[in-house]
């Protein structure tokens, strides 16, 4: 269980994340929703250690992660797929997968296991990642995050720039990883409708604060919330 308590992060003079608490249980998906600038990306970047919080605490099954270096937080089992995926264009598809496996040594997933999940990647294994389409990049970055067999997956806008059919496919994958691998997912999305379709819990952020933390069907039923923050 990933537990975030009272996390507060400043970006210069701006308080981007303001006392946010969320939880992600094993095999569950918590969707973090909200408009541009609500602090969703900063929340993920603070959890994975890319930016330092001003206050608050992040822990995984009781072990404190706050203030550990980024690469040590990954090694605790928290994988962060940044906005846009962060595919390394200069490396081949397979090299992108292999670099994520190095620290895990024998326990990492082999590239073949990832190709079984995303067969499209197998056809392109020796090509530079710069040649991939948007959907393939998203598959590679999610597959790459799975290589080290994380317990928690932080996903930043996996639907960004994808066609609706692909978005549904990616959401389906995410649900499947939660169910079959027991991974807890913190899913940051602007596309609230598709995120809520697979989530177990929905958290709405506005100006860095949590304004709602409910079951997906409750969120979807709340007309005021929907109009004000979710855009559907």
């Amino acid at each position: 269980m990933l537990t975030v308590e009272g996390l507060t992060t400043d970006y210069g003079a701006v308080r981007a994340v303001d006392g946010v608490s969320v939880q992600v249980g094993e095999g569950t998906i918590t969707a973090v929703l909200g408009a541009n600038g609500a602090g969703k990306t900063t929340l993920l970047r603070t959890i994975s250690g890319l930016v330092r919080p001003r206050a608050g605490r992040v822990s995984l099954d009781g072990d404190e992660l706050t203030r550990l270096p980024v690469e040590e937080i990954v090694r605790c089992g928290v994988a962060h797929v940044p906005e846009g995926g962060g595919v390394i264009s200069e490396l081949t598809v397979e090299e992108n997968l292999r670099v994520a496996a190095v620290w895990r040594r024998g326990q990492a997933a082999r590239p073949d296991e990832i190709y079984d999940l995303f067969p499209r990647l197998r056809e392109r294994r020796t090509q530079p990642a710069s040649r991939l389409s948007g959907g393939e990049r998203q598959m590679l970055s999610i597959g790459r995050a799975l290589v080290a067999r994380p317990r928690i997956l932080l996903l930043d806008e996996p639907s960004l720039g994808l066609a609706p059919l692909l978005v549904a496919q990616i959401m389906g994958f995410i649900r499947r990883f939660a169910d079959s691998l027991g991974i807890g997912v913190l899913l940051v999305e602007q596309n609230a409708r598709s995120a809520l379709s697979v989530a177990n819990r929905g958290v709405v952020l506005n100006l860095g604060r949590v304004v709602a933390d409910q079951e997906p069907h409750q969120l979807a039923a709340d007309e005021r919330l929907r109009h004000a923050y979710l855009g559907f």
Binding site: L50, E71, G86, S89, E90, L91, E95, R98, V99, S130
Partner: protein
């Protein structure tokens, strides 16, 4: 015709040294986006250490190994102690640090070893091969220089292409933040990059020292040539650095042979200016893939 052959052969030999210097600059640029202006002074120090070991033990090869090992340590220490604190700040800061380090090392070298250039031994004969009745401008020692630089280039290629540590170094160089998110200890990769670069520089130092002599400022022209070679190769690409070094070595050898050696530094700078005007990404840029 013999003259052309002579100039070609000696161009390949000096080009190999330029290639080693260019590799040193390229490895650091790739890893940390810093042009290491202290490289010439660093390889001066390691070459002096080699000479001290040679004089103390009487063995060239012990001195050779001492140069490479001291390069490894010096490169790692410089990155960890001087460069790390200014990383992530304004890009000019590490450049100023390397300029300061250059001044410091040259001064320290002069204080310890004096400013009079000293001769440095070569491991193999400096008498040219005899073919038929003529003596070529290419010596057994030149053969050694070309082979050892080739071995360095191949070793680096294997390291980067075929080992997990090389893969992590590339990932850290291309996308440091993403690499960290994948569990790569990026700081260590940068330290290793600097250490390997300094080894390449140390190698260049001991290889060229027999022909330029050893003094605090004697390697400055080599560093300029190495820099031009690195730019020629795209500054980003180790194979480009090797090819750039060889091309520059040949070009300067012809200039020196046909036009006179006084024109060589001018020609090197002219080539630099022309390359920057015509192909700013270098002749062998691996950078096109990066623009995507």
């Amino acid at each position: 015709m013999t003259r052309f052959l002579d100039l070609t052969l000696s161009g390949i030999s000096t080009g190999a040294v330029y290639a080693a210097v260019a590799l040193a600059l390229v490895l650091i640029w790739r890893a940390t986006r810093v042009v290491n202006f202290a490289q010439g002074a660093m390889l001066m120090i390691t070459t002096f250490i080699a000479l001290a070991v040679i004089n103390a033990t009487g063995s060239y090869w012990l001195g050779f190994v001492a140069a490479l090992l001291s390069g490894l340590v010096l490169g790692a220490v410089v990155e960890r102690v001087l460069i790390r604190p200014v990383e992530g700040g304004p890009p000019l800061n590490p450049v100023i640090v390397t300029l300061g380090l250059y001044t410091l090392l040259v001064a320290v070298g002069g204080m310890i070893w004096g400013n009079t250039p000293r001769s440095f031994p070569a491991p193999f004969s400096l008498r040219g091969y005899r073919v038929g009745g003529t003596t070529l401008l290419f010596t057994p020692n030149d053969t050694f220089i070309v082979l050892i630089v080739l071995a360095l280039a191949l070793g680096l290629a294997v390291l980067f292409r075929a080992t997990p540590i090389g893969l992590q170094m590339r990932a850290a160089a291309f996308r440091p933040e993403v690499a960290r998110l994948l569990g790569v200890r990026v700081g260590r990769m940068f330290t290793l990059g600097w250490a390997l670069a300094a080894v390449a520089g140390a190698l260049a130092g001991v290889l060229i020292a027999p022909s330029v002599f050893l003094g605090p400022n004697n390697f400055d022209p080599i560093l300029i040539s190495g820099f031009v070679a690195a730019v020629l190769g795209g500054l980003d690409s180790p194979p480009g650095a090797v090819i750039g070094g060889l091309v520059l070595g040949l070009a300067l050898s012809y200039v020196s042979g046909y036009e006179g050696s006084t024109l060589v530094p001018l020609a090197a700078l002219a080539i630099l200016v022309i390359v920057l005007m015509v192909r700013p990404t270098g002749l062998f840029a691996a950078t096109r893939e990066r623009r995507v």
